[in-house]
């Protein structure tokens, strides 16, 4: 039997999720004494294959089609690989690009499909752990089928390490160009702006708990008092209250300050992906079960509108009326 993982790259580099996917792939393969095959589609496939040749990887398939991700090509390539290898488990990343092709592959191949896996257990069948309701609960779903497609949440498994002795095999796909109906025309970095939050030693970061745009003045005052840089979670940017260059998270910036003060931030997985590398994390949130506390080093479970003014006053500042 075979476990097949589809790796991901962007602008010349394999993304970390590729190596994490290899780890979960090996875990699944070991449970049934199967082989782990990885595939890389497009870009510098031979160089990528060298990098993917790590411990526990049996075969790396290279599909030399295109430079960058195109979901129409990926769907055809993965379908062809699946037809050829007949894997019992097909693994794809639960990344933005994974979301752009994995559902189509699963649908086309009529495979049972489970997304955003944070845990897997394989015995007689396959059990997949995933979250619901904004990470407030975990669920286990059982898959009763011989073949399955899964997407795997980035950052949940350690990347596979060590040098391997995988076979590298070029895989030819006869791409039907008439089915390529989207064209990637470029990439753009967003939110350069006046401030680079990735440079900051101290970040005061604000989330949905601030409730109203007018209340941001309070957090700005704290940042000024501390000589810190102001950043935010996604909803603040979505509301247009702060520019995109201030957004910390999966689709924003990854930051590693010495001190990260999360105010009114619940700690959704997309946000955590951007700030978990901070040296010291402080959370101020009135919900004691907020996921941010799983990560925080220090916490104040209280109303931010009471704590933040008091903190500003501690340093001789004058909190604005909000």
């Amino acid at each position: 039997m075979t476990v097949l993982g589809i790796t991901e790259h962007r602008r010349g580099d394999l993304r970390d999720v590729s190596f994490e996917l290899a780890t979960v792939g090996r875990e699944l393969a070991d449970a049934t004494d199967s082989e782990l095959h990885l595939a890389v589609v497009g870009g510098e496939v031979e160089a990528f294959a060298d990098d993917l040749d790590r411990e526990g990887v049996d075969v790396v398939h290279t599909v030399d089609e295109g430079e960058e991700f195109n979901h129409d090509v990926y769907v055809q390539a993965v379908e062809a690989l699946h037809d050829d290898l007949d894997p019992d488990v097909l693994l794809m990343p639960h990344s933005v690009n994974g979301l752009d092709y994995a559902p189509a592959v699963a649908s086309r191949l009529s495979l049972p499909f489970v997304t955003d896996a944070i845990g897997v257990h394989r015995d007689d069948g396959l059990a997949v752990t995933r979250e619901m309701y904004g990470s407030k609960v975990e669920t286990v779903v059982d898959v009763d089928a011989d073949r399955v497609a899964l997407t795997v949440r980035p950052g949940e498994w350690p990347p596979v390490e060590g040098t391997g002795d995988a076979d590298v095999s070029a895989f030819e796909v006869d791409v039907d160009e008439s089915q390529v109906r989207s064209t990637v025309t470029g990439f753009e970095e967003v939110g350069g702006g006046d401030v680079d939050i990735t440079d900051a030693d101290v970040l005061v970061s604000v989330g949905r708990g601030i409730e109203e745009e007018e209340n941001l003045a309070l957090i700005e005052a704290l940042a000024d008092t501390l000589g810190a840089t102001l950043s935010s979670s996604r909803p603040i940017v979505d509301n247009g209250w702060l520019p995109k260059n201030r957004q910390v998270g999966q689709s924003g910036k990854v930051v590693t300050p010495e001190v990260y003060i999360a105010i009114g931030i619940s700690g959704a997985v997309q946000h955590v992906a951007g700030m978990k590398g901070a040296e010291t994390i402080v959370a101020i949130n009135d919900d004691p079960s907020a996921p941010i506390y799983d990560l925080a080093d220090y916490g104040i479970v209280d109303d931010l509108f009471d704590v933040v003014p008091a903190l500003i006053e501690e340093f001789g500042g004058e909190p604005p009326e909000v």
Binding site: P103, G134, V137, E138, V141, D238, Q250, S251, F315
Partner: protein, 264 residues
């Protein structure tokens, strides 16, 4: 032209709640329009307002309770709505993205839209798969996680930006008809006006059952089943400051002084 926009009513869980078997006790749930779908509705209505002769139709897979949420979409400018539900769907323990996509595909086959807009994901089950799965089923092109849309009614192509990780956006041209999954932040969803809310009362919400769409109970049968639902174990080892707001602020101030963030 016609735009079909998928609208889900999602459950939100209170901070404190109790698990009841494979679900959460109803006492701790509130229902609302899925956040991502709110942006999809706004995108659809925006295209309608900028063009001529554009009909916006919403489709929901959900029980009668969802009508309240659907009315909000109607109040924001959706012309009419379809809601699919029956005993087979009601008795489906795990309504996954495959089942939803199958039902929505049957609606799309009837409505023959030129463009379909969906939210990237639903706030409760968070599969993130329904839109692209739907596109594949109905033979439409697609783009996932769209945070900027350049499209005018009748265009044979949509230019989109897809929000990748790490502050990078991908610029992509997509042939229409297409399914676009809409990311939050793409626009500024309007509030329903009082006039809109009044008008919504007279707009149609057409109830449909699987049989009306040429489907039967087999559409709800899948190989994936929910077997456990539980609160995750908290793994926090944070030092939580205790006391009044002034006291906790004082303790945090001491920490920040110790860390050298602030002098004095």
């Amino acid at each position: 032209m016609k735009i079909l926009v998928t609208v889900a009513e999602v459950a939100e869980v209170e901070d404190d709640f109790e698990v009841d078997g494979l679900g959460i006790d109803e006492r701790y749930l509130t229902y609302d329009l899925n956040e991502w779908d709110d942006y999809a509705v706004e995108a659809a209505v925006g295209i309608q307002e900028a063009g001529e002769d554009v009909e916006v139709v919403s489709v929901t897979v959900g029980p009668e309770r969802a009508d309240e949420t659907i009315r909000m979409a109607l109040a924001k400018g959706v012309d009419r709505a379809i809601r699919v539900w029956d005993d087979d769907l009601a008795s489906t323990e795990y309504l996954d993205s495959t089942t939803k996509a199958e039902v929505l595909a049957a609606v799309a086959a009837e409505e023959e839209p030129d463009l379909v807009l969906t939210g990237v994901q639903s706030g409760d089950s968070a599969f993130g798969a329904t839109g692209v799965s739907l596109a594949e089923r109905i033979g439409f092109e697609w783009a996932a996680v769209v945070n900027h849309l350049d499209y005018e009614a009748g265009d044979d192509q949509a230019s989109v930006r897809r929000e990748l990780e790490g502050g990078v956006e991908e610029l992509t041209d997509v042939e229409t008809p297409a399914v676009l999954t809409i990311q939050t932040g793409i626009n500024d969803p309007r509030y329903a006006s009082l006039r809109g809310i009044r008008q919504a009362q007279s707009k149609e919400i057409a109830p449909k059952e699987l049989a009306d769409l040429g489907l039967d109970a087999s559409a709800t049968e899948g190989a994936v089943s929910l077997t456990e639902l539980y609160e995750p174990e908290t793994v926090s080892d944070a030092t939580v400051y205790e006391g009044s707001s002034e006291e906790t602020a004082g303790q945090l101030a001491d920490l920040l002084r110790d860390k050298g963030v602030v002098e004095g």
